[in-house]
């Protein structure tokens, strides 16, 4: 194995603002975390010389050596299962599942071991790690490359599940996930990988367990996460012209759910809709609607809507535009409410 070469931490001094994609921000977060903490190791499929199929690990092996960044055999259960052993020994593995649907072979390791180890051992053994999962669609991917698997993970006690929607959060939340003493399923919306922002690193945004109001409004709360935050913002901009004031909440964290922030927004607007790409039945939106209703029923002017993908397997590339929730579909759904604007 080659000798690791450690680059100086970029945390030492904030860089001048520069345009960064979400993929670039994630790459910078990994680089800075590895420079700061020698327990952090990165491995998975094609993460070494190739830099990952989305280039999120670009250049890391050259910077830190093969003992810190390496290509594993092509086996997702093996990747996560070995990370459990490494975390038990004190390393901080950051592993990549190449695509959402390819994470399913690791389901047992994640659900039966990663999620349960701390509880099983009364806190004496914990397995802090970050499982990065590029997720969701709208990139013209062929079958098994566009799944939204967040509900499986969010339904599992013991896991922390987060999904950034923009480059600044991507950097900040990945740093926080790596520092966390709990295992984190870190979902990266593929369609946002190439979205850009001017960032001065290291950037720190709100804590990763908090939702954020990303646009203020008074009539409706649109709740999105990952790729659908953009959808919600576009819908809000379009609605403004029609005199409808939409507030947009970016959940950021799916588990835990930030009842406080989302509930406060709902009590202000008294109407809410949750938007996600995943199918509706049993989807994450069902939990959002149920718990918001339980806690805020007497503040509601209308039922909470779910604006989601259909209850079908994710479509082939030429049909996905019909599946994905669009700003138009969002506005249509809001129009279905009885509006008493008098």
């Amino acid at each position: 194995m080659s000798t690791p070469v450690t680059e100086p931490a970029t945390d030492a001094a904030a860089s001048a603002p520069r345009p960064l994609t979400m993929a670039g921000a994630l790459n910078a977060a990994l680089r800075d975390a590895m420079a700061e903490d020698d327990r952090v190791v990165v491995y998975g499929e094609d993460v070494g010389p190739l830099g990952g199929v989305f280039r999120v690990t670009d250049g890391l092996q050259a910077a830190f050596g093969e003992d810190r960044v390496w290509d594993s055999p092509l086996a997702e259960s093996g990747i996560v299962g070995t990370a459990v052993g490494m975390a038990m020994y004190g390393l901080r593995p950051v592993v990549e599942m190449q695509f959402d649907a390819f994470s399913y072979p690791a389901f047992e390791q994640i659900v039966s071991h990663v999620a349960k180890m701390r509880n099983r051992t009364k806190g004496r053994v914990s397995v802090p790690m970050v499982i990065r999962i590029p997720c969701a669609g709208a990139i013209g991917g062929v079958e098994h490359h566009s799944d939204s698997s967040e509900a499986y993970w969010a339904a599992t006690p013991g896991l922390t599940v987060v999904m950034p929607s923009n480059p600044a959060d991507a950097y900040s939340m990945l740093r926080e996930a790596i520092d966390s003493d709990d295992p984190v399923v870190f979902m990266e919306p593929k369609s946002r990988y190439w979205s850009k922002a001017e960032l001065a690193l290291p950037v720190r945004t709100a804590p990763m367990n908090r939702a954020e109001v990303v646009r203020e409004g008074t009539d409706v709360t649109l709740i999105g996460y990952g790729p659908t935050v953009r959808t919600a913002l576009d819908a809000a901009a379009a609605a403004e012209a029609e005199g409808l004031s939409i507030e947009v909440v970016d959940l950021r964290s799916l588990s835990p759910f930030d009842d406080e922030t989302v509930g406060a927004s709902l009590r202000k607007t008294s109407r809410a809709a949750v938007i996600h790409e995943a199918a509706q039945f049993g989807g994450y939106g069902a939990e959002v609607a149920a718990r918001l209703t339980e806690r805020n029923f007497f503040h509601l002017a209308a039922p909470i809507l779910r604006i989601t993908g259909y209850d079908i397997p994710y479509p082939s590339p030429k049909l996905e535009e019909h599946y994905l929730p669009t700003p138009d579909r969002v506005l249509e759904a809001l129009a279905s409410w009885e509006w008493d604007l008098a």
């Binding site: 459990v84 038990m88 071991h113 701390r118 709990d182 759910f257």
Partner: protein
């Protein structure tokens, strides 16, 4: 095209006839059957004998306590003592063991107390010991998942230049699981210091090993991963210990992983809720009882004049003392705090869990208030 030629062990299939150093009559063997392994010194064998006898006393005691309803379940390893004890005795206190649910008796050699080992079977909590203190992972119930943990921990230790070895126990049924394949492959590719023990006790609950594999031996599988595999008489503790010691030494010196298959037999049922008469003949069980691993070693030790009445009595006494500790541990009814259910799920506190904890606390308070009123009303 061949890959990694320079890294390969000789491409030799494990012998179909299991490696053994002592025959069933307790005679030391020589020649091909030994696979080139040497009989361990008699003092070492006496120590293994002591551990096996004490372990069996424990196993029999726990089975009895389970029948009395003191434990929710207990998977016995009666008859598998040579595998269980022989292999774990080849690692040091600094090494790590990754056991399955059937390996309670192996845990005795790791310094665990009966109350710690049996806590999960009694139903108190899912894992009852400090894994780091004993360098012994929790018993794995999903099959073969722990083998990957063993590989990962070994790799982490090697990255840290710690010269430790990890030992993963698996059963014959577990070799059909994908995680067994992935663990063997990761270990071989990464050359981790890991020893895999497959205890072929010939049944996965009721399913015979012939329905798990078409390979001649389970050790054959090692060849495809580019690691050495050994097919060993799993009722010959001398052979199990000798082969395991060589594998542990090779792993520690950077030689990579080894797969050891111990051919043995599960004398007891799968657990107390199993009915083995539905899938195997009593005469098969009798056949294997006549191949008892403890009796075999005893015959050898007697023939060597190494087992005095004094030593026998002392070992029996140690077994009875452990059995008594086991009974005591299982008689005690520790106060379980239902509120602790919420305390270890996350390192980072969660509002939702705090709310649910408070709800259960209120429910418990209401219950005890209700109970007090009932008592007062009588």
């Amino acid at each position: 095209m061949s890959l990694n030629v320079e890294h390969h062990e000789p491409r030799v299939l494990p012998s179909e006839k299991p490696i053994r150093l002592l025959d069933n009559a307790g005679h030391a063997l020589h020649g091909r059957e030994t696979g080139g392994f040497e009989l361990p010194p008699v003092e070492r064998l006496l120590d293994l004998y002591r551990r096996m006898v004490v372990a069996r006393r424990f196993d029999v005691q726990v089975t009895a306590l389970t029948k009395q309803g003191r434990l929710a379940t207990y998977p016995s390893a009666y008859g598998q003592e040579a595998c269980e004890i022989g292999v774990v005795s080849a690692i040091t206190a600094d090494d790590w063991l990754f056991p399955t649910y059937r390996d309670s008796i192996a845990l005795l050699t790791r310094g665990l107390e009966p109350g710690e080992i049996l806590q999960s079977f009694r139903g108190d909590w899912h894992n009852g010991w400090d894994q780091h203190e004993h360098r012994t992972a929790a018993m794995a119930t999903p099959l073969a998942t722990q083998a990957l943990h063993a590989v990962g921990l070994a790799h982490a230790a090697r990255l840290r230049n710690d010269p430790i070895v990890t030992l993963a126990y698996l059963g014959d049924g577990a070799t059909s699981e994908g995680d067994a394949h992935e663990a063997f492959n990761f270990a071989a590719v990464w050359q981790t210091p890991t020893v895999f023990l497959v205890q072929n006790n010939q049944f996965a609950i009721s399913t015979p090993v012939a329905r798990q594999t078409h390979a001649t031996t389970l050790a054959d599988k090692a060849v495809g991963y580019g690691m050495p595999g050994y097919h060993v008489d799993g009722n010959d503790v001398a052979a199990m210990y000798a082969v395991a010691t060589a594998a542990v030494d090779r792993a520690r010196s950077g030689g990579g992983p080894t797969l050891i298959e111990g051919l043995t037999y599960r004398i007891e049922s799968h657990t107390n809720s199993d009915d083995p008469t539905r899938y195997r003949a009593a005469r098969d069980v009798e056949h294997w009882k006549r191949r008892d691993p403890i009796e075999r070693l005893e015959k050898y030790l007697v023939s060597e004049g190494a087992l005095s009445d004094e030593v026998r009595a002392e070992i029996a006494e140690a077994g009875e003392a452990l059995a008594a500790r086991t009974r005591d541990a299982m008689s005690a009814s520790p106060e379980l705090d239902p509120l602790e259910l919420f305390d270890h799920v996350y390192a980072t506190p969660r509002t939702a869990l705090a709310e649910q904890r408070a709800a259960l606390e209120a429910e418990l308070a209401a219950h005890s208030e209700h109970a007090r009123e009932e008592v007062a009303a009588r």
